[in-house]
């Protein structure tokens, strides 16, 4: 008895339909057995093994194979029956409805996230603006962690948000504290009376941490994303944030953090700041004191000053603090001890930062005293490193920059690259100081000191123990962070690291050590 072997090119019905078809054909008069299958090699092999067919048909995996055994006169009837059945339109489901997990913002709002008022968006950049717009249309504030969002899309969503008094934090916004909740890379900071708006993630982290360390707290810490104060975007998020903080009765002092914006943008932002009617501390890192003070604002030259002056303004209404650590006898004593421990010929600074704003602030604070200073992210007054993978002279690097993070995690999360670089810089006989930032909080490494300390001890031993480079670190964090600031400091100090709690202080110490070496 020769079986009927027929294949239907590129034909598919679900397996239930195929099993039903097989059963119905097998019940036709004169038919002994029938099987309908996708014509994959494995299925055909099995049919051959089972003796259903004698040889392999020339079918492909996307074809449907029908094999029928029976009386020869009945085979054509079976094939006609199959063709008629397969040409019928596929039937729908049984009409039952099951609860599905949310796959869209609107679905989440209807169920699990009922009452939410903020959407945090982390998608590839090409999709982020579309998701943000959906959230804004639903009346949500938005934080966009994604980067690589086209600037025209950023402008469109920010205009939409600004017109409706909705925040669009980002794109490329990595830090915020909203209603006491740290979002993305942020620290555990107590609630208080200071509102902070910043175009820089680590800048926001430093300022909020130092406010906490000074015994005060924040109402909101609002990130704007790095492009917000560009001429194209025009500071739309900062303007919205200022309006919201101005209308918030719990916010009694406001801090603004950014690199110096274009003049037209600065004018708009400062006008909005004035319109809040509240004390505003302006920290345009790298701007001249007179430029800001001449417009009637309190000007902070460092992130530390921004935090401390805001606390002073809140407590007494008068801000006086300056990051003048160089004048401190205690700091000079530390500098002398560190300089005295260095071996002959060690004379250069190697800054290995994970925070971009810390790197930028260090460059600003040292560029006047170290004219040959180099960086992978240079300022106008400093030089670009000729070789990113080999330092020379005084060098300060942002290891979190795209140059170093393509295809690998950010150094705040994965310290591997920085550990390699610590070993490399220590082995250079001209390295005097290795300057580090240690950023704590949510998103950061769970115990950064525990991986840095052994690497530092090993590097110092390899560099000759006594006379090896000195390590200066600033910890950006709080005693309430999961990593706990004081415990991190203890671990680093036990490894011989000089620890500060502000970048400005660490940089002042570095400067004093270098002056001692020269002297």
């Amino acid at each position: 008895m020769t079986p009927l072997v027929h294949f239907f090119p590129n034909m598919y019905r679900d397996s239930v339909a195929l099993m039903q078809l097989s059963t119905k054909i097998a019940q036709l008069p004169g038919i002994e057995a029938a099987s309908a299958q996708m014509a994959t090699d494995a299925n055909i092999d099995l049919m051959v093994e089972a003796g259903l067919i004698d040889q392999r048909p020339a079918a492909r995996p996307n074809d449907m194979l029908l094999v029928v055994r029976g009386e020869e006169a009945s085979l054509q009837t079976a094939l006609d029956f199959a063709e008629a059945a397969l040409s019928e339109k596929a039937k729908g489901g049984d009409g039952t409805v099951q609860k599905v997990p949310p796959r869209a913002i609107v679905m989440a709002l209807e169920d699990e996230a009922k009452g939410a008022n903020l959407a945090l968006i982390s998608t590839p950049g090409a999709f982020a603006a579309a998701e943000a717009m959906k959230a804004l249309k639903l009346g949500l504030d938005v934080m966009i962690f994604s980067d690589n969002v086209p600037v025209d899309e950023e402008i469109a969503i920010k205009r939409y948000g600004h017109a409706r008094n909705l925040l669009v934090m980002g794109p490329d916004c990595g830090t915020a504290i909203i209603n006491g909740v740290p979002l993305a890379f942020a620290n555990v900071v107590r609630k208080g009376g200071i509102g902070v708006v910043g175009a820089s993630g680590t800048g926001l982290q430093q300022v909020t941490c130092l406010i906490h360390q000074a015994g005060e707290g924040v109402t909101q810490a609002i990130g704007t994303g790095g492009h917000d104060l560009s001429e194209a975007v025009g500071g739309l998020t900062m303007l919205t944030a200022l309006k919201q903080l101005g209308g918030d009765p719990e916010t009694r002092v406001i801090v603004l953090i950014s690199k110096p914006p274009a003049k037209a943008v600065a004018d708009k932002v400062l006008a909005a700041a004035r319109a809040t009617g509240k004390p505003v501390v302006v920290c345009f890192l790298g701007a001249a004191l007179a430029d800001v003070e001449s417009r009637g604002f309190d000007c902070a030259l460092t992130l530390e000053e921004a935090a401390r002056r805001a606390v002073e303004a809140l407590k007494s209404g008068k801000a006086t603090f300056r990051s003048d650590h160089g004048a401190s006898a205690e700091l000079q004593g530390r500098a002398k001890r560190l300089a005295a421990s260095l071996g002959l010929g060690r004379k250069y600074l190697r800054g290995l930062y994970s925070g971009g704003t810390f790197c930028y602030e260090a460059l600003i604070l040292l560029q006047d005293v170290l004219p040959a200073l180099q960086s992978n992210t240079p300022t106008k007054q400093t030089a670009r490193m000729p070789d990113l993978w080999r330092s020379s002279g005084h060098t300060i690097m942002d290891l979190g920059d795209d140059d170093f993070t393509r295809g690998r995690p950010h150094p705040m999360i994965d310290p591997a690259l920085r550990l390699e670089r610590i070993s490399q810089e220590s082995a250079d006989a001209e390295t005097a100081i290795i300057l580090l930032d240690v950023v704590l909080g949510y998103g950061a490494h769970e115990n950064p000191a525990s991986v840095l300390a052994p690497a530092i001890e090993k590097a110092r031993a390899a560099a000759g123990g006594k006379g090896a480079p000195v390590f200066v670190a600033q910890i950006c964090g709080t005693d309430a962070d999961p990593q706990h600031m004081d415990r991190q400091a203890e671990i680093l100090r036990a490894a011989g690291v000089d620890v500060s709690f502000s970048n400005a202080e660490a940089v002042a110490l570095v400067r004093a050590v270098l002056e001692n070496i020269k002297g």
């Binding site: 679900d14 299958q37 494995a42 999709f127």
Partner: protein
Amino acid sequence: MIDVQARDVGADIAASPFAGAVEAVFAHACTVSLDDGRRLTLLAGSEEQGMRIITAFAGEWGRLHPHLHVGRRVAADRGVLSGSGFRIDYRRNAALWQSPSFPGCVPADGWRPGLLEAKAHLDAAMRGLAPEMTRTAAYLRFADLCRKLHRREAADQALHRLVGLGPGLTPSGDDLLCGLLGALAAAGDARFETVRRGVMPHLDRTTSASKDYLAQACTPWWTGLLHGFFAAIAEPEGDIPGAFRRLAARGHSSGIDQAAGLVTGLALAAGHSDFIPLS
């Protein structure tokens, strides 16, 4: 020209331009072979999500399906996939799906509480399936594979006989392997590499749609429903009945087969020799 709105889109489907040709059209799915050698799948009326899947609303599929013809060119630009007579917008209002990460380690309890509960649901569902020759053969060969995973050559031979075996658009053998690959990747188990290397050369032996799923499992990427089931097993208070119900609703037996592969793989990786379901 009809305009179709996608419901979900996988994150690996670039917003940048690409082009290709329709490779296969099924009742509720379509595979597209891209000029860069990759593939994407269009699905309809399914809860499934994947890194290289665009899912249309079931109602939209009825309008789209008549325009899908094997060999016809399609092209995508700025989040719109266009072909002869249709446009699919997968950017504006589609939810983006990103494969969650794989933990890469076995927890101290070896997922035991979750696995025991999952296995009970799996056993009940499997009892409800009608016997089918190729599916039964796939399960027997999968069990054979699990016993041979520590021997590379033997595992390769078992995989050769398993890929593409079983009923349906995604044959049971492939679904079992998708589950197994997800489990071994989640556990950080070295046998993942044995299976991946053994599967890749045989991808052309199965249907186009199944090939996509297997290739994604080898990357490794999760698909949405399979990850939902894994997460429910791994979490202390996970909704295992709900996650299993959603996965099992995939195809006739595909979801159950994937669940069986996952539970078996997790039990294997965690060394629960007392209840490895299919070994």
